[in-house]
């Protein structure tokens, strides 16, 4: 600064004092912050790996009977995990596809009057037990992957919808005014200002939806859509605790892992400068 306009350094210094120095606000130093962030990124998978290892050793140390052996083996666990991840990812994809555009529409001034109704509907979606939705869909439509996805979407659309709306509504009205005042059309204000600034909040909603979906996907087994719920319910119906524990622990590990991935995505996709 002083290089370009040496004559005015005095006043600038004065100003820095008056309005608080820029650098002082940036503590802690970036290196330390990065180290801490890195620790956060590594700690969770390390912990989850440890849990899986303990589970593995524990199961290995047990004499499995034939029923347990059929439910707890490498192929079944692998297939169930893959199905579970598919259910989670596909349902969350559709949740985003439905909830984000809906959230955008509902925050436009022309849609103000339908907003309460749609929010109520989304609330109902989350209040109705997903088992009920699954069973209804199975009875009236079909069984398998598709009704499971529909039930998951209905159940987890609310957090993403709500966060999209809150994220858009919390954007400083003055920024929108500034954009409009410079001649930005409404759509451009939405795309260039409102959505980027809402991204952190929307992503938090998506992360919530992901974790909800990992948990709820355990119910998909009731409509024959597989997943880790298959192992849990198999263990329950045959009263085999080892099986139940294996399925439950794996589900929990998957939920935490998905949450961890979501956290990283939030950090990477958050616009810089915020």
């Amino acid at each position: 600064m002083s290089v370009a306009t040496p004559g005015r350094t005095l006043g600038k210094e004065l100003e820095e004092h008056a309005s608080g120095t820029v650098t002082a606000a940036e503590a802690p130093p970036p290196a330390a912050r990065r180290r801490r962030a890195l620790f956060g990124y590594v700690a969770m998978p390390a912990f989850l790996g440890l849990v899986c290892l303990v589970l593995y050793i524990w199961v290995q140390g047990k004499e499995l009977d034939s029923i347990e052996g059929r439910l707890v083996n490498r192929e079944v666990i692998r297939d169930a995990t893959v199905e579970h991840v598919q259910l989670t990812v596909v349902s969350t994809f559709f949740v985003i596809l439905v909830a984000v555009p809906l959230g955008i529409l509902l925050t436009r001034s022309f849609a103000k009057w339908v907003t309460p109704g749609v929010i109520a509907l989304a609330n109902i979606g989350q209040m109705v037990p997903s088992v009920g939705v699954l069973v209804l869909l199975a009875l009236t439509w079909t069984i398998g992957f598709r009704p499971a996805i529909v039930a998951l979407v209905v159940y987890s659309v609310l957090p993403v919808l709500r966060n999209t709306m809150v994220g858009l509504q919390q954007v400083d009205r003055n920024l929108i005014d500034a954009g409009r005042g410079m001649g930005m059309p409404r759509l451009r204000v939405l795309g260039r200002i409102e959505l980027p600034l809402a991204v952190p909040v929307i992503l938090a909603g998506v992360r919530t939806a992901l974790v909800i979906n990992v948990g709820t996907a355990t119910l998909a087994t009731f409509v024959n859509a597989g997943g880790l719920g298959k192992i849990i319910s198999g263990g329950l119906s045959t009263s085999r605790n080892t099986v139940i524990i294996t399925g439950a622990v794996l589900t929990a590990v998957l939920a935490l892992l998905v949450d961890w991935v979501g956290g990283i995505a939030e950090d990477l996709l958050r616009p810089r400068g915020l």
């Binding site: 600064m1 290089v3 370009a4 306009t5 040496p6 004559g7 005015r8 005095l10 006043g11 004065l14 100003e15 820095e16 008056a18 309005s19 608080g20 120095t21 820029v22 606000a25 940036e26 400083d172 003055n174 920024l175 005014d177 500034a178 954009g179 409009r180 005042g181 410079m182 001649g183 930005m184 059309p185 451009r188 260039r192 200002i193 980027p196 600034l197 616009p271 810089r272 400068g273 915020l274």
Partner: protein, 391 residues
């Protein structure tokens, strides 16, 4: 340049108009201030010029063209817009913020990039440092400069400013106001400026429109006339007491005679400095660098200390003002300065002279005399009217 023709704004379900049939001419290159109590409709009136609020009736002409028709977005790109809350986009760098309108107008990359550098330079920020920073890394004053740069991006002939210095601490505000006035001398824009602060209006305005409830114009005139001849009681009350002191905001440093202060260059030897000091009656000497810029302000005792080099003797010069600063600024700074004078420097920071208390006091006395003369004239006029009535 800008002509308002019967501009009216009514909101449905509201008794009375928010803005009532305003006719107004704004001349090219002038800063026109809309000032009035809160709720008087000054912001509404300004926002109708770029159609952020659509007038209910009436027409607005800019450079002879009726802008109440046509695409409002196109119109707004031709009008610089600055709001009180700064309104920099926090997720964009300073460069991207400035590029907002040029991008919409489809400028190519190189042209935009050059323009960003040029504008940052114009508002006194080093482009190399600032163009890739984010707004939160800047101080309030720096952000304010960026906002002005952004509004000037495509060199619009007209600028609208809604309390642009409202959210800034008082010391920085004075400096930014002065900087902006200097900038305006270079760029000569037609500016509509909204404020609720009559002192700011007097300082910044070429012309002031004092608005009352319902955005009717109580008086539209130069600051001098508004101070000396308020149109009615409303204006007189709004301008308030101490009108003659307010005129300190009208007198600029460039209008008064500067005092000479003893100066030496930083390379001078101590004996020379002491002799300069002895010859002067000021008791302190100003040390200038090679480009004539004040670096230190030292007394004989400071000079006498051999252990301190000349460039560190005494104190850093405080109370540094520029020719377009008002005497009000000078007085404020002077009261806080240890040498009882303010230094005047030009845009490059080179020393021009000093303003001391005597100069300001003389200016105040001259204003008092002027004001008394006007009051006397008004009294005489009233007296004549009295005499005329019975006859």
């Amino acid at each position: 340049m800008i002509r308002l023709d019967g501009v009216t704004k009514r909101y449905p379900g509201q008794e009375g108009a928010a803005v009532e049939r305003i006719d107004m001419d704004i001349r090219e290159g002038e800063i026109v201030i809309f000032v009035g109590p809160s709720g008087c409709g000054k912001t509404t009136l300004m926002r109708m010029i770029n159609r952020l609020i659509e007038p209910t009736s009436g027409r607005i002409f800019i450079q002879g063209e009726d802008v109440t028709r046509g695409n409002p977005d196109q119109l707004r790109r031709r009008i610089g817009y600055v709001i009180q809350q700064i309104g920099l986009f926090p997720h964009m760098t300073i460069g991207e913020n400035i590029a907002t309108v040029p991008r919409m107008l489809g400028w190519d990359k190189a042209r935009i990039s050059n323009r960003i550098d040029e504008l940052l330079e114009l508002v006194g920020l080093d482009a190399r440092i600032f163009r890739s920073r984010y707004p939160k890394q800047l101080s309030g004053g720096q952000r304010q400069r960026v906002v002005v740069a952004r509004a000037l991006a495509v060199d619009p002939p007209v600028m609208l400013m809604d309390e642009p210095f409202g959210a800034i601490d008082p010391i920085t505000r004075d400096r930014l106001q002065n900087e902006f006035l200097r900038l305006q001398q270079e760029i000569g824009k037609t500016i509509v400026f909204v404020t609720h602060d009559i002192d700011e209006a007097i300082k910044m305005g070429d012309r002031i429109a004092i608005l009352r409830e319902g955005a009717t114009i109580a008086q539209y005139d130069t600051p001098e006339h508004i101070l000396s001849a308020p149109a009615d009681d409303f204006v007189a009350d709004f301008v308030g007491a101490g009108a003659s002191l307010k005129r300190l905001n009208l007198s600029r440093v460039r209008d008064v005679e500067l005092t000479d202060w003893p100066t030496v260059v930083v390379s001078a030897d101590r004996a020379e400095v002491l002799s300069v000091l002895r010859r002067s009656d000021k008791g302190s000497v100003l040390i200038l660098d090679g480009q004539n810029r004040p670096v230190r302000w030292a007394t004989a005792r400071d000079i006498d200390r051999d252990d301190i080099p000349l460039e560190e003797a005494g104190l850093e010069p405080e109370a540094v003002v520029e020719p377009q600063s008002t005497l009000q600024d000078v007085l404020n700074l002077m009261l806080n300065s240890s040498h009882g004078a303010a230094l005047v420097v030009d845009g490059e920071g080179a020393y021009l002279g000093a303003v001391d208390f005597a100069t300001v006091a003389n200016a105040v006395q001259a204003m008092r005399r002027e004001a008394n003369k006007e009051l006397k004239a008004a009294a005489d006029e009233l007296g004549e009217a009295e005499r005329a009535t019975p006859a």
